[in-house]
Symmetry: C2
Subunit: 700 residues, 2 copies
C-alpha cells in the first residue's frame, strides 16, 4: 500500500515534469532561455512537491493512541508511516551524520474526562502532540553537502513538512516514547525567520494570531469549544428542540445596548441594526407555532469592552412554547450537568439550588453569588436600624473567622461613591476592648438605632452569630430591597474569597437566582446623606420589557393601567426572571415572557413610557403610529402561546470550562479592547464611492 | 397524577386570588371602588389562567404515534389528557348542546424516510397534526347561556387553548381517528379577528409571517432544515472536523460582491464589512494549525435579489489541512449520501460522476449540467467549422427524438445578444427535403466550412449520431474553450427538459464539475460579427484569487512572473476548483487553495493586477504598503500547510431537499426582493444622533 502510493507519487511527478518539458519545447521560441528554463524546471519541481504530496497514513496521536498500531510495535514491527506537520523546534545535530528534531501536529480530538480515563496512557495529550524525528545520514553522507537534497538538519523551526519514515520505540528512559527514523522529508511550506523569533517571545503580536493558535493550549481550547457545542446540541435535540436561524440584518430597537448599524442600499436613509440578541425573533417564532426553538446565535453589542466582553459574541438561545420557568430550568440543568460531567468530570447536584433575588442580596450581597464559600452576610434588622438615610435602613455584618490566616482590609467603595459605602472593618479583641467596641463604631458611623442598650445588643449579636475573639467583623448598611449591586458587604465577601481561598481548587457551585425586581429605579445623580439617591418611580426594565411579572406582583402592575404611574414603586414588583450563576459568574439568564398583548402594552406605555404605544388593546379599526414594538404586540394579539426561554453566554461558558480568565482564550479571532482585529486590520477605511452607494458620508 | 396536578392548579389559583384580596384591602383607601375591584378581580383570574396553566400530558402526535398510548386505547381505556394548541377552524355546533372543533399543535419531530417506514401508520404526519374536540353540554345546559363560562363553541378560530379531556376512538369511518371529549377548555391567548380573515386569503401578508409559519408545510420545512443541519454536523464530526466560529465584523475586501458596511464608533471614519464568506478566516485557521474546520457560516452579499438569493444566507463551510480535492470531495459525498438517504430515501451512487469543465460545456453546454436527462450536445468539429468569428469556431448540434411528443422551439438569445446566439431549429423531413436541408441552413447561418461536400457531410453526421426522420436538430456555434455559459445549445437543452419531462419524478442526479478555467476574460462590451467579444488577456478570478492552478497549467502561470502579462490567456489556465451540482443546481463549490505565498503574490500582482502587491516574496526587512491581502500573504509565508475546502449553500440545499422552488420556503424570516423584512419593518430610520455616534451622516 505504502509502496504503491510512493510509486504513484513518483510517476505523477515524472508526468508533470514531462509535460513541463513539452511546454518548454512549444514555448521555446519565446524569451525563455536554457538557463531560465532550468530555473523554471526547479520551480515546477518545488510546486509539484508542495502541492502533490503523499497522504498521511497516521496522525501522531494515532501512533500513540491507536491500539492496533501499538500492537504492531509490541510485536517488534517498525511500521512505515507518512506524517504531516511542523518542525516544532530547531533541529539538533548530534554528530556529523545524525540529527534530531520534533515533529508537531495538533490533529487531536478533544477527549471527555470519561474518554481520557477509559484509555489510560502514561503520556498526556500534550505530550503526544509531538514526536521525535531521527535522521541518520551515515550511509548517505554525500547528501550532507549537497544543498539540493532536502534534509531534516537543514530545516528551520516551524517548517511545514511531510515525513516518510519508520516508527520504533525511542531509546530514552521513557517507555512510551516513540521515534520516527526519517527516510525522506519534504518541505510543504517554508517558514519565515519571524516565526522562530516569535516563538521565543512571551507576548505574541496579535497580528500573528495564527501563530499563537498553533499552541497546544489554544488548539485544545478550540476543540473543547466545538465539543461543548456538540454536547449542548445533543441535549437540546434530545428534548425535541428545533434549531432555527433568525436574521442578523435586524432593525434598531429603543431598549438595550448601543447597536451596530448597517446602512441599506435599496432604501436610502434607512438602516439595519445587528441584533443584540434574537429576543424579538424568538418570541415571533413562538407566535409562529414553533414548539421548542434553539440556536447558537451571533449577537452584537457596541459597548466599551472589558476583558469578558466582545463586540460580537455567541449565545445559546432557546425558547419554549406553553412552558414556564421550571420547564426551561430543567432543560438548562440537563445541559450543565451533561457538560460539566463530560468536560470537567464533575457531577453537579440536581436540582440546582434556587435563591430568590432578595435572599441572594441579603445573604451574599450580590445577585450572582459565588457559593464556593459558605460565608454569609447577616441581616441585623432585629437588633439595629441605620437612620442616616431612610432608604438604607438595613444594618448587616460579615464575619471572618481567625482560621483564615489573612485578614483582608475593608474594600473601598468604587470611585466617586461616598465613604459610607465602605464597610467598617473591626477585629474583635475581647481582652482589650470588650464585646461592644465594634458595634459602637458602627453606631457612630451609620447612626444606628439599637433595640436595646449597646452592651446587651452587642452580646446578643455575638451570641446569635457566634462571633468570637479574633474574628473580624465587617459592617455596613443597605437598602431594604437592594438595587446597589453588589452591596458593600457583597463586594467585601468577594474580596475575602479572592484573598483567602484557592478558588480553583473548590468544587464548582451552580445555582439559580430567581424573582428579580422587574424594574430598576433610576439614580437621580445626587448623593444625599452620603448615599446615592434613587427615584423609585422612574423605572427602566431590569432585563428587558418582555419579562412577565410574578403573579403576586400583578395587582401592582395593573394599577399602572389606572394612570397613577406615580404609585408604581420599583421595590414592589418582581418579575419571573431567572439567572443561572456558576462560581459567581452569570452564565445565562431568561424569563417567562409576557404573552398577553394588553399586559405588554401596559408595561411599555404606562410603566416604561415608550412613546406612541396605546396603553390597552386597540379597538377594531383603531390604529396607532408605527413603533418598534408594533410587530411584537401584533404577534401577541394573534394567539401567541405562553412561552419562556433563556440564553447562555456561550463564550463565557467555554472560558469557564477551560479555566480561562478571558473569553479571548476560547475565541479563534477575538477583537481587541478597542474592537479592532489587528490580524486582518479591521475596521478599515473604505472609499467615498463605497459609502455613497449606501447613501451615507463621513461626518465632517 | 392528573388529579394531583389539577388540584395543585386550583389551589394555586385560590392563593393568588387570596393575595389579591389582601392587596385589595391594603390599597382600598385609594381610588379603586367596589365595582372596579370586581373588574380587577376578573382581570387577575384571566391572567392567572393564562400564565398558570396545567402542563400538557401529551402532544397530538404522541396520542397517535406512541405505542403505549395506543395500547391503552385498544384495551378500552379513555385516558385523561391535557393538550395545548390552537383551535384550527371555527367550531361547528351540531345541536343545542353539542359542538365540534379541531385542535392543532405542530409539535412533531421531523422524521427521516426510514423512521416513517419503520412506524407504519395509516395517517400521515399532517393528518395527526390536528385532533377533533367534542363538547357535550347535555348535562351542563345552563353553561350554554352563561357568558362567563369558557366553552369550545364560543371559541374563535386560532384561539390558543389548554384542553383537558378524555381520549376515545372517533365514531366516524376512519379507523385510526381519535377524538377528545372536552372536560374543560381554557383560553391561553385570544386571537384577533384578523387571523381568521387571513386564514381564508390565498396570499398572506408577509407582515404576518408568523401566521404563515403556523402551517404544517412551513413547520415541516423548518423541522427538516434543523434535521439536515444535525445530519451534516454528525457526518463532519465523525470525520474529526472542529467547529470554529469566525468573526462577522470583518473588513472590506476588493474582490467579490458588494458588501454591507458597519461603521465603527471607536475608530472614526473606519468601517467593518460583513463577510461574503469566511474564506480568508478559514485559510487563516489552516495557517493556525486547525486540522479540519467546519462552520454553519452566516454570509452576506448585497446584490440585487433573485428568487434564490437573500442578502444574508447560510453556508456549510469547511476546510481541510494537508488535503487535496479528493479528500474534500469524499467528505462532501459522504454528507450528500447521508442526507439524501435520510431525508429523501434515495441512495446516491458513490463515487459521484466527475466531469471536467470542458467536458460539461461540450456535452451539456453549461457548467452545472442537469443530468436528469441523458440528452447530449454533439461537437461536429470533425465535420464542419464555423468561420463567422474565429473565436466561435465549434459547430454543434442537439437532437430531439420524435418519441418526445412536444417540440419546443429554439430559445431566443437573452435580450441584447446577437441572433447568431439563437440556435437554428430544424425538423427532419426526409421525404420532402432530403437529408441535407438542415445542414445547408446551418452552413448559411454560421458560415460553415465543411470537410466534404454538403450531402456527404450531412449523411456522415446523420449516420454517426443516428439522426432519423422526424427528429428535430438544434444547431449553433461556441467558443473552443467556452466562457459563454450556458451556451445557446446548453440553454436549449434545459428548455427542452422543462417542456418535455416531468422533472420532479426523475431520480436526483448529482455530479462534480472540476477543473474550471482559473480566470475569466472580460467582455469588451463590443459585438463583432454578431458575437460578443472577449479580451482573453484582461482577466478576473473565476471564483476567487486563492484557487490553485492545475499543476499542468503551472508553467503558463509562472510565465506571468516574467512580466509578459500579455501572454496570459484565460483559455490556457485551469484551476483546481470543483463544484457539486445536483439537478442542474450548484449546491456547493470549493477548491484546493494556493498555500505558497510566492505563487499567491504572482497571481494577485501579475495576473489580477491588484495594486500594491509585490510580485515575489519580500526580502527580509523589505516592506510593502498595507493592502487587503497582507494578512493572508503573511500567513502563507509562515508555513501554512497545503489545504483545500468547500462551501455548501445550505439554504439552497434545504430548498432542494424540501422540493421548494424558493429558498424562502426554508427560511423562517426571509427578506423580500428589495431586502426588507415587512414583519419587523427593517431596515428603518434611525436618529441623526445615532448616526453621529458612528461618525457618519446621511448624504444630502
Amino acid at each position: 500500500m505504502h509502496l504503491h502510493q510512493g510509486l504513484r507519487h513518483i510517476l505523477k511527478r515524472r508526468l508533470i515534469l514531462f509535460r513541463f518539458c513539452e511546454y518548454g519545447r512549444s514555448y521555446s521560441h519565446n524569451s525563455i532561455e536554457g538557463v531560465s528554463r532550468l530555473a523554471r524546471r526547479d520551480e515546477i519541481v518545488k510546486f509539484t512537491e508542495r502541492f502533490d504530496f503523499p497522504k498521511a497514513t497516521h496522525t501522531i496521536w494515532q501512533l500513540y493512541r491507536e491500539a492496533s498500531f501499538q500492537m504492531q510495535l509490541r510485536e517488534g514491527a517498525t511500521p512505515k508511516v507518512v506524517l504531516h506537520g511542523w518542525i516544532d523546534s530547531p533541529p539538533r545535530k548530534v554528530s556529523r551524520t545524525r540529527a534530531f528534531a520534533n515533529l508537531r501536529d495538533v490533529q487531536f480530538l478533544y477527549r471527555t474526562v470519561e474518554q481520557v480515563e477509559k484509555q489510560k496512557h502514561e503520556a498526556s495529550d500534550e505530550e503526544v502532540a509531538t514526536i521525535q524525528l531521527f535522521e541518520d545520514l551515515t550511509e548517505r553522507s554525500s547528501d550532507i553537502d549537497n544543498p539540493s537534497v532536502t534534509l531534516l538538519r537543514r530545516m528551520k523551526q516551524e517548517t511545514c513538512v511531510c515525513v516518510e519514515g519508520y516508527v520504533c520505540k525511542s531509546k530514552g528512559n521513557i517507555s512510551w516514547r516513540l521515534e520516527v527514523v526519517v527516510d525522506r522529508i519534504t518541505v510543504l511550506n517554508s517558514a519565515e525567520d519571524l516565526v522562530s523569533q516569535m516563538r521565543g517571545a512571551k507576548d505574541w503580536d496579535p497580528k500573528y494570531r495564527y501563530l499563537q493558535l498553533r499552541s497546544f493550549r489554544l488548539q485544545r481550547a478550540l476543540a473543547m469549544r466545538s465539543r461543548v457545542a456538540g454536547l449542548i446540541r445533543n441535549t437540546l435535540e434530545g428534548h425535541r428542540f428545533t434549531e432555527v436561524e433568525t436574521p442578523l440584518l435586524f432593525r434598531s430597537t429603543p431598549e438595550g445596548a448601543r447597536e451596530f448599524l448597517v446602512p441599506s442600499r435599496t432604501e436610502p436613509g434607512k438602516m439595519y441594526a445587528l441584533p443584540q440578541s434574537p429576543q424579538q425573533y424568538k418570541q415571533l417564532l413562538m407566535a409562529s407555532g414553533v414548539h421548542r426553538y434553539y440556536q447558537f446565535a451571533k449577537c452584537f453589542r457596541d459597548e466599551d469592552l472589558r476583558k469578558d466582553r466582545q463586540p460580537e459574541f455567541t449565545q445559546v438561545d432557546l425558547e419554549m412554547a406553553f412552558a414556564k420557568a421550571s420547564d426551561v430550568q430543567d432543560i438548562v440543568e440537563a445541559i450543565l450537568v451533561q457538560v460539566w460531567k463530560e468536560i470537567k468530570g464533575i457531577e453537579l447536584q440536581q436540582p440546582l439550588k434556587r435563591l430568590r433575588y432578595m435572599e441572594a442580596m441579603s445573604r451574599y450581597g450580590i445577585d450572582k453569588p459565588d457559593l464556593r464559600s459558605s460565608m454569609e452576610i447577616h441581616d441585623l434588622s432585629d437588633f439595629a436600624t441605620s437612620t442616616t438615610d431612610p432608604d438604607y435602613p438595613v444594618f448587616e455584618i460579615l464575619v471572618l473567622r481567625p482560621e483564615d490566616s489573612k485578614f483582608p482590609p475593608a474594600v473601598f467603595a468604587p470611585d466617586g461613591s461616598p465613604s459610607l459605602r465602605t464597610p467598617l472593618c473591626h477585629r474583635i479583641k475581647l481582652s482589650n476592648e470588650g464585646p461592644s467596641k465594634w458595634l459602637s463604631e458602627s453606631v457612630a458611623k451609620f447612626d444606628l438605632e439599637l433595640v436595646a442598650d449597646l452592651e446587651t445588643t452587642a452580646n446578643q449579636i455575638m451570641q446569635k452569630f457566634d462571633i468570637r475573639d479574633g474574628d473580624v467583623v465587617y459592617s455596613c448598611t443597605r437598602q431594604r430591597v437592594p438595587f446597589e449591586n453588589p452591596t458593600p458587604l457583597g463586594r467585601q465577601r468577594l474580596f475575602i474569597m479572592q484573598e483567602t481561598m484557592n478558588l480553583s481548587e473548590k468544587l464548582d457551585a451552580a445555582l439559580w437566582v430567581v424573582e428579580f425586581p422587574l424594574f430598576t429605579p433610576t439614580a437621580t445623580g445626587r448623593v444625599v446623606n452620603g448615599y446615592i439617591e434613587y427615584d423609585y418611580s422612574r423605572l427602566v426594565a431590569t432585563h428587558h420589557p418582555f419579562t412577565m411579572p410574578c403573579l403576586e406582583s400583578l395587582p401592582a402592575v395593573l394599577d399602572a393601567g389606572e394612570d397613577q404611574s406615580s404609585r408604581i414603586d420599583a421595590r414592589t414588583i418582581f418579575g419571573q426572571h431567572y439567572d443561572i450563576v456558576v462560581n459567581g459568574v452569570e452564565v445565562g439568564g431568561g424569563s417567562t415572557r409576557i404573552h398577553d398583548s394588553g399586559l405588554q402594552r401596559l408595561v411599555l406605555s404606562r410603566i416604561l413610557h415608550v412613546s406612541g404605544i396605546r396603553p390597552s388593546n386597540l379597538e377594531p379599526g383603531e390604529a396607532e403610529p408605527e413603533n418598534p414594538f408594533t410587530h411584537l404586540l401584533n404577534a401577541l394579539s394573534m394567539a401567541c402561546p405562553p412561552h419562556a426561554g433563556l440564553a447562555l453566554g456561550f463564550d463565557r461558558l467555554c472560558a469557564m470550562l477551560n479555566g480561562s480568565d478571558s473569553i479571548r482564550e476560547v475565541i479563534a479571532f477575538p477583537k481587541t479592547q478597542t474592537g479592532s482585529d489587528p490580524l486582518v486590520d479591521s475596521p478599515s477605511r473604505v472609499t467615498d464611492e463605497q459609502l455613497g452607494v449606501y447613501h451615507v458620508q463621513l461626518r465632517k
